[in-house]
């Protein structure tokens, strides 16, 4: 079965790949992922804020008490043998590049236009084949309009596009007033693809102790629906590549995503739960499903269920919504 697809200009044997996550943190699991047949490797995001926070915390931990007392000029081993900042991330790109043959896609979250550019260049120089621009922010400034937020996002894409030659994909959240419009602007700013969607780590509340608790839940299949809807909307509108991430747990999920228009299917939770080898099984399942359903190739079904092809998007959307709402019963909760 021909499962081949094209994503960000790469001709891939199939669309399945790990999403941006700690899965690619060590070479061993990267090799296991490749052995399991991953079409590409996506690295975890380089969060500038975290990098800077780490740097400063370590700087303070090492220098705060140093040179203060006659008995000890320092209290921790000489940090010269340890590397902070972007060093280890960039080195990881190099190591993974050297270890695998499949495309290596880095991921970045910056804070200022300058830092986006600076880090993107470093990532390209380190050998990444492509870059996910991870737009991961909560718009909380009451003085900033939705348009301002979108302008900033588009400017980042344009700046990174200017800075690097490798393909770039914007990883977005679904929380925009007009995602279709924004997708168009992002495409015009030079993005080669969109990754749908980012998952925010939602802070929880500890009611006993009146504290905010960060929580991380692995994705659940229910999250796929939102992604399917937007893939279906954007497929056809957006000329570049589309990737789904979040909620794909089995081959049928992948089938749906491809039908909705995905060129790449990224998975994290299922691989973390069941190990990189799951990829092999998913690929086999995908092949089997296509064979059982009489498809010639994956491309044949790519975008088959997008709204562009499936009829009036708005109408389907609304009726779907009404049906679900009316059929809801408290017992179903």
């Amino acid at each position: 079965m021909d499962l081949s697809t094209t994503y960000l200009g790469f001709e891939l044997p199939h669309p399945l790949m790990p999403g941006s996550s700690p899965l690619a943190d060590d070479l061993d699991s990267v090799r296991r992922l490749e052995d399991a047949g991953a079409a590409a490797i996506v690295l975890r995001s380089l969060f500038e804020e975290q990098i800077v926070g780490d740097e400063l915390a370590t700087y303070r931990a090492h220098t705060g008490a140093a040179e203060s007392h006659a008995e000890a000029a320092s209290y921790l081993p000489d940090p010269a043998v340890f590397a902070l900042g972007t060093h280890d991330y960039l080195e990881q790109i190099q190591k993974i590049k050297a270890a695998v043959k499949v495309p290596v896609i880095a991921s970045l979250n910056g804070t200022t236009p300058e830092s986006w550019i600076e880090y993107a260049r470093l990532i390209e120089q380190a050998g990444a084949d492509a870059l996910e621009i991870n737009i991961y922010e909560l718009a909380t400034d009451p003085l900033e309009s939705g348009e301002d937020v979108e302008d900033r996002t588009v400017a980042v894409v344009a700046a990174v596009r200017e800075a690097v030659k490798i393909p770039i994909a914007a990883k977005l959240s679904p929380f925009y007033s007009s995602l279709s419009h924004l997708a168009g602007r992002i495409e015009r700013a030079g993005a080669n693809g969109l990754v749908l969607f980012n998952r925010f780590y939602q802070p929880d509340i500890d009611a006993e102790n009146l504290e905010i608790e960060p929580r991380l839940y692995l994705s659940s299949p229910v999250e796929l629906l939102l992604r399917l809807r937007w893939l279906a909307v954007l497929s056809g509108q957006f000329q570049g590549s589309l990737a789904v991430t979040g909620g794909v747990h089995n081959a049928i999920d992948a089938v749906k995503a491809v039908m909705a228009g995905a060129h790449a299917v990224q998975m994290v939770s299922v691989l973390m739960r069941r190990g990189p080898e799951t990829l092999t099984r998913l690929r086999a399942d995908l092949t089997r499903w296509l064979e059982e359903h009489g498809y010639d190739s994956l491309r044949q079904m790519q975008g088959s269920m997008s709204y562009g092809r499936g009829g009036d998007a708005a109408a389907i959307e609304r009726s779907n919504y009404m049906r679900i709402l009316q059929s809801w019963r408290p017992d179903d909760a």
């Binding site: 400063l56 931990a61 940090p79 060093h87």
Partner: protein, 1201 residues
Amino acid sequence: MSPKERVTLDANEAVASVAHRTSEVIAIYPITPSSPMGEHADAWSARGRANIWGKVPAVVEMQSEGGAAGAVHGALQAGALSTTFTASQGLLLMVPNMYKIAGELTPFTMHVAARTLATHALSIFGDHSDVMACRGTGFAMLAAGSVQEAQDFAAIAQTATLASRIPFLHFFDGFRTSHEVAKIEELSDAELLDLIDEADVAAHRKRGLTPDHPVLRGTAQNPDAFFQAREAANPFYLACPDIVAKTMDRFGEITGRRYRLFDYEGHPEAERVVVLMGSGAETAHETVDWLVGRGEKVGVLKVRLFRPFDVARFVAALPKTVCAIAVLDRTKEPGAVGEPLYQDVVTAFAEAPAGAARPRIVGGRYGLSSKEFTPSMLAGVFEDLAKEKPRNHFTVGIMDDVTHTSLPWDAELDIEPDDVVRSVFYGLGSDGTVGANKNSIKILGEQTDGYAQGYFVYDSKKAGAVTISHLRFGPRPIRSAYLIRRADFVACHQFEFVHRYDVLETAREGAAFLLNSPHGPEAVWDELPREAQETIVARKLRFFVVDAFRIAREAGLKGRINTIMQTCFFAITKTLAPETAVAEIKRAISDTYAKKGPEVLKRNFAGVDAALGGLAEVKVPAAVTATRGRPPIVPPGAPDFVQKVTAILLAGYGDRLPVSAFPVDGTWPTATAQWEKRNIASEIPVWDPAICIQCNKCALVCPHAAIRATVFEPAKLSGAPDTFKSDRFRAADFEGWRYTIQVAPEDCTGCTLCVMFCPAKDKSNPKHKAIDMAPQRPLREKERENYAFFLELPEPDRSRIRVMDVKGSQFATPLFEYSGACAGCGETPYVKLLTQLYGDRALIANATGCSSIYGGNLPTTPYTVNRDGRGPAWSNSLFEDNAEFGLGMRLGLDSRGAHARHLLGEVGPALPGGLAREILEADQATDAGVKAQRERVARLRMALAPLKAPAARVLAGLCDDLVKKSVWIVGGDGWAYDIGFGGLDHVLSLPYDVNVLVLDTEVYSNTGGQQSKATPLGAAAKFAVGGKDTGKKDLGLMAMTYGHVYVARIAFGAKDAQTVKAIQEAEAYPGPSLVIAYSHCIAHGYDMAFGCEQQKLAVETGLWPLYRFDPRRMAAGEAPLVLDSGAPKKPVEAYMNNESRFRMLEAAGPARYKELATRVREEADRRLALYKHLSEWKTGAVPAAADAAPPPAPAPAGGGK
């Protein structure tokens, strides 16, 4: 000769470099001031740096210096080239092996940063008392006087030992040389290879033990053999001086730097000569040059090879014209005819060939414990030596008004030439001043042909430590081994200092003064105290200000002002072209911080770039305008001793105190820390009674006893300051009373532990807690008044406190307060709690380490007394012997107690009815019981007064021994797990009633974070830079195996109630108790404000299980071990990820980090499973009481529980 590579470094690094490059096995143990040598060696080996033969030396940290000496002895016997580094008491622990190593004629060089031996007090500073204690070992002793010499002599010693087979003790002055940063010519590998004879190396290897050619060493010999065999080595000692001389000659040929066994400097026809060794000889050299320049016939003989002492070369080295010699020893040998070098010189002349000159010889002591030794003191020695009858057995550098040994000297004498730029910087440890100054010296050393020298003085505090940097820069090598007395440039990096210290003391006329000031050039003048204005006007100082904190804040550096001030220093002194200076500062920043990440560099660069824009010269008014001077160091109400001694030490003028000011035996008053108001917190906690739930947890966690709780009758509020806060006390005991939480505003360090730990949140605005931090300055005066009022409130009657739990214990006055511990220290809350519970009856034996430094380092003492004048009696013996020391205290107390009880039995019939029996049978298990006993003893004292019987008279002096005493053996993990473990194990094996509190920071904290056996698996520490590869020693489990030892593992930040309970159980247990206390520490590498959070995580991840093992439970047929923490709730990473000691391994290699984390989990699970099993183990049947009770302590036992 090869072209010279010049480097700027301190002697520790220079010596370690040679030692590392010429060794194969290095065994060490950390001890100040030699620790950096071992750390360098370890770091180099960890990075794969090879020795001159291309092999990476093996570096191993041992459990003590004794262990290190044993390990090198073994390595040497196996034919390896070996070395070690040590000082002071550590050197003494090596002495037994030194005799062996020398007796076996083993080539070996040890490097000693010579340090004072602890006598009436410990001192970390330098003198020769340690090396002089090794004179009899048979080691050759080679003394270096400067950084250059220390490096060179390290190489000469290693070469000569291989050639002579006599082991070498190479020493240089601790701190003055070991820590002095100077520009030197570096020895290359090629030079070292050229110097060391490979045939000697091969011969040493050939002598190594091997089963292929077996021999036996270490025999036991009888009277028939030993003596002759001992004399058999004589030829080697006789040959040694020649070998060293030849080695020095060869060294001179290779490097151009020439040395002799005795180097004479001065007038060729000198009449007066001083003889000395070490850094003092450099100052003497400088002074002699100056005096000769003024026409005086004086000279100095620098002794290099002290052992074997070459009489002929010594005599020959002196000018024939010499009439009078002063031999200066940097040590004291009480009771001896004279100090060691003096005795040798006298003997040398007595043995000199006929016809040699017979000058008059006197001896004197100088520079003990790094006491300043200056040209003016040397001039004083020469002046006295010119007298017809010069003083013998004198001292110089102090004022001895008791036995009048001291020579006078002219303190104003300044011989330093004008072309040496001298700069003095006052800073805080935390602002980075010292680090930047070290870089400045390197910059000056490397960017110019000139010579630079840096020396750094620290106060004894760990929080808010004041540092004073002394930098010299001049056209010639700098021999001034003393502090700057006249500075061309003075910088004060903290504005508050101008109100606390005379920072301008050293400023010479026309000097530049740079002040980091929040007040601009127009406003600053009016903010200065009168004294500072007077100096500025009188000495015509040029005065500059910069608001470095603002610049640092804007650059995102938060308090790190060092590079900003450094930029201003170069701009004002013009020691480098401005653009070169800025470029070099940035290069130094890159070198120092590059691996910390680009953001750190970016922010530091931004600070440097903005610095000069903020620098402004102040237009100094013609006259002084200030009316207010600096406030007195201590308030007028302080006790006499504090006024006359402590205050002088606090002001930095301790050198001016005469001998008579000091106690004769090192005994020192407690309760003096309260007189030192440091005001180091920028923010202090503010209490909101409306939110407070009155749990007293804030008081419990405060490391400095700077936030306190009390209850009092409402009537006591009369006369309270208007801002004094109180609230109705909401508990059954003390019904109707008022409750207060009060901050000691001037003693708080601003660590925020209390705020972080406070559980009471405003329900509508949880960000607001019952205590929040607020700026100290606006609160200082009012809160000072409130605190004074608080201290006057009566302490609540302990017997009325319902439960002595977390809450109840905090109503007891802490008898340990305002120590010099780090802000947020994780140890001191335990010590403080211990004093709250038992301070009025405690003897504390304290192992050397952080707890002995913050507990007993002058100028002030944090252990204090209650209103009855009772409080902990505290003593520090050594590092290694603390358990034994504490046991001795117990035995001593028990002996006195038994004697008192015996006498009481004898005198009893003469006492009022039943008193003796009441006293003998008293239950003293509770506070109330102890109180009642004290009352009985008071009655006894009165009843004894009229009695004349001898037993009654003796008993009168032993009455207090009838009241229970609590012995606490306190120390860190370095002591308990490593160096003192043998003793601790033995003491625990005995049945005596001692309580051991181990403050477990999992690392040698005081000496700078070296790994101990308490360091957990996977943590990076010095000597475990790649992360400790083996698990933490389970000290508690080992103690449990005895069966009769009470053992508890506690963490106040995780479960404070269990902490209090365990300490109480330990104290009540009538046998040995061991309490292992988790102590967060700056050496873990995170903000100590989160210390309690980390404690909690340590417990929740299962890495620090809480338990109590009480042998008494066996009596009831119960398992003695009770687990106080549940199954792990969180992954170990939740704990590890927050601390640099773990995180740096992740940065170095995520895969290894992951693997380590897995092993950490497995290891923790294994231990937890074992504990669980033990906690479920029961004896099966209720044993007879006698089986379960701890074995009774052998007689004499009394005053027990």
